[in-house]
């Protein structure tokens, strides 16, 4: 490789690299000189929003990040880790791949899955589950259907081939996401607590290796691209989208776990955003050491790549490994066995500098610390301004919603609504069972996976109601945490920790930043209440096109532990004659509901109230009841309200659908009773002999409980306003998404 003539660094070039004048001056101050072209590229990616979190880190630090079971701090490692007992750790994280998926849905989503899986196995953990939280515009829009199809295929093809079960997630539709879909991928892995490894470069004279795929021109400036609004010009940046190869990733997984298991290495980090640059800078900053990379030694896919390109390439399925001196051949033996590249490209030292050489000549020399998150990258406090729409949309007049309706028809319409209907069109395209740990597959409140050689299981769910967050970002974020905790609680678990994926618009717009800061505040309040610290995650700004920003969407990935396999609980009714109870209470609330969205095409109104202490008490009570062995089913009452929740209890175990007769004696408007989304409610069913035990338990805990009906028959009724045969409800619920997606 020869040094090619590099462009001169001009003001225009600096601007093209997404750096502002203030930042450029800071670079000059740090280096004591002007940066060259390669260095400019490095600063550009490392100080991009995507890598530096410059506009979010100050607020993120206000979130609760401590807990007795945490093995890593938020942002300290590639993923968060929680001690789950029995000498095991659960490693998990969620990350966005929104912009790549907007342009190239298949590869964008596939590489999103690949990236998050690498974050898990670089910690020494074997991935056991994958989840996806997806948001799109209306499925009536053909472009949206193209995106849905590509994203689902991309997630499926990558995870299915890699061999991780895709077990849960959400698929949510609203016009707010038309121009900028959200693709948030979460992965969960298990490691031995004494077998985990850090993403560190340390010591002097330790060899640094690049392993896995060769480096190509794909994905150059992916991180910078993710830090801009989507526009017409974005289409031209399609080359910033990476290409995934799940087969190579599978081999990389096995080889990585072997070198960790044989204790051959000091540290390892995935090459995701900003490739070699980010991994070298972050690992050496973390180890308070230095590293010199000989860029000409990197195996490349095509001739003529410049240091700039090699350093910024985001070619997938690569890792940077700091090897224990003397163990190079052992590492090579293992990578040879799996037919993967492993090449020494550098060495550690104690300089604190990330230096890059080409044929022995220095082409870049920057202190690691100034590049790495947690070091001295820029930190900004942005201006906030409450957007005018919030007070405007909070106004709500019940007179706009007539009560002379055919409630049976409305319920069928709701069951078929894209945000409520069965999502097997999506998850049947995923392998949800490989590695044979999946006890509860997609279709219940949370996925449940057993942990081999223990009596325990892990419950996991992702949640966020973007509409709530749009109408009230603070309470919306609280609700996202509360609902995800409620979901794992209904499966029998105690919530232990979260990972978050914060999807927002342009942070330089004060009204957007208001939503962000409010959401962080609300999330922090809720996490403190549930004692579920934030173990890490990802911030994705600039989710907007020329027309609008997406709803503020702080997606929560919740992890729960079930201490005894026999307490695993599903959401559907089980047996004829079982009694149905509502835990929590009904209120006259209708604002922000799926009902007014689906039937009246409105996204307005006050969001439902949320009392976090009450929510926690309800969840604790349900968990106590589950642990006492009397609960046959438990289902979170959320999107669609009571009528939809109860209908799902009847039909969501498709082959064993069973009816229910419900009587609720309350003075409430019918629409609020059926479809209002009052929080902190859970529907449970128990054997007819266990009803009193449940009531006693609730009374002891001072939690409202009411007997509302009985399971049985082949019809579903509520008072005298709903009465439907299951044979009408099943096709409405199950055939809807397939029919929508089959449109030309």
């Amino acid at each position: 490789m020869e040094q090619q003539k590099e462009p001169k660094v001009t003001a225009e070039l600096v601007k093209e690299h997404g750096l502002n004048e203030e930042e450029y001056q800071k670079i000059i101050e740090i280096l004591g000189r002007e940066p060259n072209f390669t260095e400019l590229g490095i600063f550009s990616v490392m100080w991009s929003e995507h890598c530096s979190y410059k506009n979010s880190i100050a607020l993120l630090k206000t979130l609760p990040r401590e807990g007795e079971n945490l093995l890593t701090g938020a942002g300290e490692e590639n993923a968060g880790a929680v001690d789950i007992g029995d000498g095991l750790a659960c490693v998990f994280k969620i990350e966005s791949h929104n912009h790549p998926s907007a342009l190239e849905p298949y590869q964008g989503a596939a590489t999103g899955v690949g990236g998050i899986l690498r974050d898990i196995f670089t910690m020494g953990a074997r991935p056991i589950a994958s989840l996806n939280s997806l948001r799109f515009g209306s499925p009536e829009n053909p472009r949206v259907r193209y995106l849905v199809d590509g994203v689902v295929r991309g997630i499926g093809d990558y995870g299915n081939s890699f061999g991780v079960p895709t077990v849960a997630g959400e698929t949510y539709f609203d016009e707010a996401y038309t121009g900028n879909p959200l693709v948030n991928a979460m992965a969960v892995g298990i490691a031995k607590t004494d077998g985990m490894i850090s993403a560190t470069i340390k010591g002097t004279g330790n060899p640094v290796m690049i392993v896995g795929s060769k480096t190509g021109r794909d994905g150059i400036h992916g991180a910078t691209f993710a830090s801009e609004e989507l526009s017409k010009e974005s289409e031209e940046k399609r080359s910033a989208v990476q290409i995934g190869d799940p087969f190579t990733e599978k081999l990389l997984l096995e080889a990585t776990l072997e070198i960790i298991d044989e204790d051959l290495i000091i540290g390892i980090q995935d090459m995701g955003a900003a490739g070699i640059t980010c991994s070298s800078a972050e690992m050496s900053a973390r180890g308070e050491s230095g590293v010199t990379i000989d860029i000409d030694k990197v195996p490349i896919r095509e001739d003529g790549m410049t240091p700039y390109e090699i350093l910024l390439s985001e070619s997938q399925e690569r890792m940077l490994v700091c090897v224990k001196k003397g163990k190079e051949e052992d590492v090579r033996r293992i990578f040879d066995k799996w037919e993967l590249n492993s090449t020494i490209i550098g060495e550690t030292n104690d300089s604190g500098i990330f230096k890059v050489r080409l044929n022995g000549e220095t082409v870049s020399e920057i202190p690691s610390d100034v590049l790495a998150l947690g070091g001295s990258t820029p930190i900004y406090h942005r201006e906030t301004k409450k957007p005018d729409y919030i007070d405007e949309l909070a106004k709500f007049d019940f007179n706009d919603y007539p009560l002379d309706r055919n409630w049976n028809e409305d319920l069928l319409t709701m069951l078929a609504a894209p945000n409520i209907c069965d999502k097997s069109w999506v998850h049947d395209q995923y392998d949800s069972q490989v590695r044979t740990n999946t006890v509860v597959a997609p279709g219940s409140d949370a996925a449940v996976l057993r942990i081999r050689k223990t009596d325990k299981a892990l419950a996991m769910a992702t949640d966020c109601n973007g509409r709530y967050c749009y109408l009230n970002p603070r309470i919306g974020a609280q609700q996202a945490v509360a609902e995800s905790a409620r979901n794992v609680t209904c499966s029998g678990a105690r919530p232990v920790a979260i990972t978050n994926c914060l999807n927002f618009g342009n942070p330089y717009k004060p009204d957007i930043y208001y939503g962000f800061s409010e959401a962080i505040a609300g999330m922090g309040e809720a996490c403190r209440m549930f004692n579920t610290p934030v173990t890490g995650g990802n911030v994705s700004f600039y989710n907007q096109d020329k027309d609008r920003a997406v709803f503020p969407t702080p997606t929560i990935g919740m992890l729960g532990i079930i201490d005894d396999l026999k307490h695993i609980t599903t959401q559907w009714f089980k047996n004829d004659g079982d009694l149905v109870y509502l835990i929590g209470e009904n209120k006259e609330e209708l604002g922000a509901s799926e009902y007014i969205h689906t039937i009246f095409n409105k996204n307005t109104g006050p969001v439902p109230e949320l009392d976090l202490q009450f929510e926690k008490d309800v969840q604790d009570t349900v968990r106590e009841a589950i642990n006492s062995g009397i609960i046959k089913s438990a289902h979170d009452c959320a999107n669609g309200g009571l009528a939809v929740t109860l209908a799902e209890c009847c039909i969501s175990n498709k082959e064993e659908a069973i009816g229910a007769q419900i009587h609720i004696d309350e003075e409430l408007r019918a629409d609020c009773l059926l479809f209002g989304e009052t929080q902190s409610r859970i529907i449970v069913s128990v054997d007819k002999n266990d009803g009193e035990k449940l009531v006693e338990l609730c009374i002891k805990n001072n939690i409202p409980v009411s007997a509302i009906g009985k399971v049985g028959g082949n019809r579903f009724s509520i008072n005298d306003i709903i009465n439907l045969p299951l044979t009408d409800m099943l096709p409405a619920f199950y055939d809807s998404l397939g029919k929508l997606m089959a449109k030309a």
Binding site: S161, G163, Q429, Q433, V434, T436, T438
Partner: protein, 236 residues
């Protein structure tokens, strides 16, 4: 008896097959694709996954691996071989079983529990099943649409080589019960001699009730039972 589970690069159900045999309580060992040593296995499992990435036709590259040369010789001399999912694809590509597996008719990956009917329970692989028994076993594949010429299907029928057919919960062979468009609802076939079987559903994933079904265990139990009987005859 001893099971050998082949690991190709890209196999991802090798571990599931291995643990299923452990649940069964029999001896089991992994066989590496670059080796030609079957480690004295009595039965070979070719597991599911995406061997060598399957970027070409599924199973098309695996058949050239050193281990497959040994598996072929083993099968041709009467050794027991079961190919599951990608393993079935490899057996077809290797010429050990007739026909082909096309892309699923709806052109999408299909991952879910389905039902299969035991069409022939007098085989080594189904001897503990009742005639016409319905088994609940999951599938997870993109290329599971079995195809062969009409004449060949008639021949397979006549030779009782069709072992499993997709059906509904009640055992009715129907279009609705067919998850991938397979001709004649074929889910699994054997060779003429009956010592090699290929099937798309994953019996190794259905060996414990906590996972939703233990029907898959019957296939492995059948193998053990047939094998010990065979040994008894030989010894007598």
């Amino acid at each position: 008896m001893k099971f050998g589970v082949v690991t190709f690069p890209g196999s991802n159900c090798d571990y599931d097959a291995y643990t299923a045999i452990k649940v069964l309580g029999e001896e089991v060992e992994f066989l590496w694709h670059k080796s030609s040593d079957l480690l004295n296995s009595d039965v070979i499992i070719l597991p599911g996954g995406f061997s060598y990435g399957d970027y070409l036709r599924s199973g098309a590259i695996a058949r050239f691996s050193p281990i497959m040369k040994s598996v072929k010789e083993f099968a041709q001399s009467g050794g027991l071989v079961i190919g599951i999912c990608n393993g079935f694809q490899v057996l077809l590509e290797s010429g050990l079983l007739p026909g082909a597996l096309l892309r699923n008719a709806h052109l999408r990956f299909a991952g879910k529990y389905i039902y299969i009917k035991v069409e022939n329970n007098s085989t080594i692989f189904t001897s503990v099943c009742q005639p016409g028994e319905v088994l609940k076993i999951p599938i997870a594949h993109m290329d599971g649409n079995y195809y062969n010429f009409d004449g060949e299907i008639e021949y397979l029928k006549k030779q009782s080589q069709i072992i499993f057919r997709y059906c509904d919960k009640d055992g009715n062979i129907s279009e609705a019960g067919n998850p991938n468009g397979s001709i004649y609802n074929i889910a699994g076939i054997s060779n003429k001699e009956g010592n090699v079987i290929g099937m798309m559903p994953h019996p190794e994933r259905a060996v414990e009730n906590i996972l939703g079904s233990s029907d898959g265990l019957k296939i492995f139990e059948s193998i053990v039972k047939s094998f010990s009987k065979g040994m008894a005859i030989e010894r007598a």
